[in-house]
Symmetry: C2
Amino acid sequence: MKKYMKKIICVLSGGMDSTTMLYHLIEQGNEVQAISFNYGQRHKVELEKAAATCSKLKIPHKIIDISFIKELVSNSALTSDMEVPEGHYADENMKNTVVPNRNMIMASIAMGYAVNLGYDAVALGVHSGDHAIYPDCRPEFIEKLNEVAKIANYRPVEILAPFLTMDKGDIATLGKSLGVDFSLTHTCYKGQETPCGVCGACVERQEAFEKAESVDPLTS
Amino acid sequence: MKKYMKKIICVLSGGMDSTTMLYHLIEQGNEVQAISFNYGQRHKVELEKAAATCSKLKIPHKIIDISFIKELVSNSALTSDMEVPEGHYADENMKNTVVPNRNMIMASIAMGYAVNLGYDAVALGVHSGDHAIYPDCRPEFIEKLNEVAKIANYRPVEILAPFLTMDKGDIATLGKSLGVDFSLTHTCYKGQETPCGVCGACVERQEAFEKAESVDPLTS
């Protein structure tokens, strides 16, 4: 028995979380399309990985240019020349990887797309490991976003966050069981094809693969 | 006694509603910046008017390109080659002037800007005349958007809609009292500098000026 039978726009960063979510939503029997965002991130290789995953899974994929966000936002290490902080993801210094209101901007655009296509839902790959640092990854954000998404258009749109209470280790474990091709994902904030191994994102990825008793194809 | 003393990002379309709101928020003693959006609208002249108003009022103004919205949205007469409907704005045929989720997308981006600048609020010029047709102009939308805007970032952002319960005639009346330069506003959906006089937007503008016992400088 499939849990969902919905038409879903999946916000796909090209990282391991949203990529695993894409596999999961397809496996659950949903009709899925993916949307990715170019926001001037220095780790643009993730967009190529996102496209490669969609091509492999044969699902429609759109990349939307929201690089205007660079103009609005001067304080994030992800979009500026500021040094990417090293160390653990949950550390205080990770706060400068925040792009203000990024998830709400991306969700709003994905919602417009869903309405236009007659789709039911937008799915975000947020998980519990993001909660400490990113307010727009927390359960109360998803809940309130859902409230506005219900009434913002003629068609209600549901905001799904199937990994909201899972951590990155749980996601790596699920991904392993679903046969996710993790070679087509990217995590490192520094933007090289080969993970730097020392930025917060790399450290978290390594921990996730260890927890899943799995091997990261990018570093093996 | 000033009603507000806030730092506000004003979403300025260049139409008479948001332009009047800008004057109003300044008159109320707030610190204001304006943001406008190029979403591929055929009535682009409104962006030039918005810039002219900000220049006249000496406030910072940013125009953000969100023309990606054209790619996502195929069914709106405002962004495609579809015929702009004539007749009264509140008619059923005005539904094809809806760009899905437009206000939420614009508000989300303005919120990101507000957070980055350390501003308190985002103001939208929605009014009661919009409610019938546009779900994202209704009081419940503003209310729910406010709920999510409070918690989406480290700083809460307030969503203001000072004209929410006013109609376009009330706005024209207020604008008259504030000395708004209505020659620096644009309303016609067809995009000519000179109003066509027959599209729904033009019809509503004429009615508003009549109700305010005022004369529209664009047609006089």
